[in-house]
Symmetry: C3
Subunit: 329 residues, 3 copies
Amino acid sequence: MDWSLSIDKAIPRPLRVIFRGAGQVFFCCNAVTGLIFLIALYVGGITAGFAATVGVVSSTVAAYLLGFPEDDIDAGLYGFNGTLVGPCLFLFLEHTPQLWLYVVLASVLSTVVLAALMRILQPYNIPASTSPFVLTCWMFMVAVYAFDGFARGPVLPPPGIPSTIAETTAASTDAWFNAFTQDAAIAWCTAISKGIGEVMFADSVIVGALFLTGIAITSLRGAFMALSGAIVGVVVPVLLGADKTLIEMGLYAFNPVLTMMAVGWVFLKPTTGSALLALLAGILTIICQAGLANFLAPIGLPTLTFPFVLVMWMFLFAAGKSKYWGNAS
Amino acid sequence: MDWSLSIDKAIPRPLRVIFRGAGQVFFCCNAVTGLIFLIALYVGGITAGFAATVGVVSSTVAAYLLGFPEDDIDAGLYGFNGTLVGPCLFLFLEHTPQLWLYVVLASVLSTVVLAALMRILQPYNIPASTSPFVLTCWMFMVAVYAFDGFARGPVLPPPGIPSTIAETTAASTDAWFNAFTQDAAIAWCTAISKGIGEVMFADSVIVGALFLTGIAITSLRGAFMALSGAIVGVVVPVLLGADKTLIEMGLYAFNPVLTMMAVGWVFLKPTTGSALLALLAGILTIICQAGLANFLAPIGLPTLTFPFVLVMWMFLFAAGKSKYWGNAS
Amino acid sequence: MDWSLSIDKAIPRPLRVIFRGAGQVFFCCNAVTGLIFLIALYVGGITAGFAATVGVVSSTVAAYLLGFPEDDIDAGLYGFNGTLVGPCLFLFLEHTPQLWLYVVLASVLSTVVLAALMRILQPYNIPASTSPFVLTCWMFMVAVYAFDGFARGPVLPPPGIPSTIAETTAASTDAWFNAFTQDAAIAWCTAISKGIGEVMFADSVIVGALFLTGIAITSLRGAFMALSGAIVGVVVPVLLGADKTLIEMGLYAFNPVLTMMAVGWVFLKPTTGSALLALLAGILTIICQAGLANFLAPIGLPTLTFPFVLVMWMFLFAAGKSKYWGNAS
């Protein structure tokens, strides 16, 4: 919205670039939105907030030092991968002092990977999105097993064969998911809000609501798509009979949130047609996530936001062949 | 052949596009050939035939609705991946009513993936071939473990470490494979014909023979390459000492069939040189298939036609660097 | 150096191309250097030397027969992948007579894969480097489990879950690594020299020293980068607490050796800035190798030089976005 963009321009440049970096996690090139995201992260947990701050600063400074295009840096494009790297490594690895060094190194690498992927995707005019964050964190998380100085945290599951992991956790969704009671309404709202929060690894209703507010400040259509993605990410897994614990934590929702924002708001023309495409993309993201999760189970890695990246890439590449779809920019 | 192309043109457009979609599984843009393929599938089994029909119709209709290029759709290029998706999911997953919905969704996705890959490969002038079918089916097959509403069929092996799966099944090929008796001749012909049938998951001699007839109607060189591929796909694994059961079912042959047709007939100039290249490509396809099969064993996925896709891509990309090889079109 | 290039030009063409093919393993288009490498390989072991010779000859001859660009062949670019394929298959697979046929087939395939990757990477002006060797050897090594005619050698670990493989071998580095005694100095020099030797699978101090001499004949900066890479490949894993046996054998060092040569000498402008980038790339290569090793553990494959290839690609693609870095050629 106009007033927020005026504030965005009034903020001193170094701070503005950092805030925008946080904002770009949800495609918002808006320092006010980014500031709200950062505050929300600190609300969710001091460590996560500080890790995100270290990540966004490291990756942005690295981009300046390595001489990548200033326009991209100013738009916060070299910040959002670092923003995600920080809380991700702190969620999945053991908290040790040297982990901070590891976060800085991973954030710097995410900047190099981003520049590389932007160069690769340049002829197609397709964004790299959060893929540098995913690839960097996967690499650092698997590498950890080989080094004494680091250990996995309790959240990261031990590697194992998918049949034993996936088939035992897949359980019928409870009755309360089908009844129209007040408890059911609360359960639904919790899952949907956490789904938005889990984009930045926050298992918290308040953080999710703050994220949604931040997005709404930049664009109402963006917020609508985020909310729709979260709803799809709860309803569809329930219908398919996915694991209830995962649904309740919003772990099926954060990928469709990003997919529907990307397809329905950011990268295609904002029409009714692209909204329907976004819905289709959101549903496919859930199947893609279930597939990738089982695919990665033998090495004990989480999918992170890669299902979103894959489905978004598919739809944006396909857009180049369609006479109906148009690129937004 | 000329008479079949006249019939092809006489068939009403919607039917022609659907039949050509089936025909393109073996690179035949010919409705007569496609019709024979569909009939052969129904001969092999009503369910498989109907699943293929649902697949080819879903993926072609989706291509129209999503606005992909009409020329490509008319040539049946948006149909053959759906044709394969249908029987594939019905072979590997449990037969439930909701599986039909799953087939429709997978066929629609294969159309989006095809458009995306065509866009990616456009600068290189390389075909996507059956890769959308493979990627889509892999995703849907692994996703199934996470959902209560679906279960794997008895054919899909449980995931496991390759050493236990592969090394125990690898067994010496029997004496009858080396003896010149009538029994041996029958065994060879069975394996070769089934090899052609297995391209569309048909474990049947008659279906394989019908497929070969259909190809011959479009091109004799195409039929010769298909037959050579099937022979290579039996002889080479026997020489290398591969698992006898797999060889007898034609499961080492369907990939070289497609590779030799692609390299020796469709995409390179039809010369003696490209026929020799096709032979080399066919042999490498078998090693590639054995490698990929062991690679995928920990997640319990079949290779499908990906060995063919990989080797074909390698040879077509390499063709761009050679002064001898030329592209056919 | 000038005198070696004069000798290079005086050598008869067929021999020169073969020697250069060996030289290109360390980016040296210099027949004298290549000859020293080959001699060093024979010093390390007759079989390894002969396997490398068979590989380099097969892949170069295949490139001529398949009609790939003569300039590239003359520079030895179609030889170094074969040079690596030979000793690699002889290290990891059981020594049988038919293994020689397998080496020839794999070397021919590495030539086709190289041409394909050169075509794919052409628009970006990025080298394929040793990726054809890695991809071909991975394929042939996994395929082996499916065939009776071949068996894995004692070096290739059985496939298994990374937790059991990696976490048990990760052990604290001994006291002698931290003490300034004569023993420690010898241990360090051994590890560093072996690190250079392991690029061509030679677990030998003399071979490593000969390789370094050969590189120094072509370029002192190249030799400096190789030595720095080997030092990084011993110091950084010690600091991170990696497995001592692997460090002592130089198995963490051969990838950074290649990365630092590529980034700091061959492909970017030879400045102080690119030397610092090379150092960063070398450190990241070690984390990438640890990650990839655990990633590949379930299928029982070694990383070979793929960590180097991945990090080099990242830095060279990223170089295209930077205003400071420049391509050397």
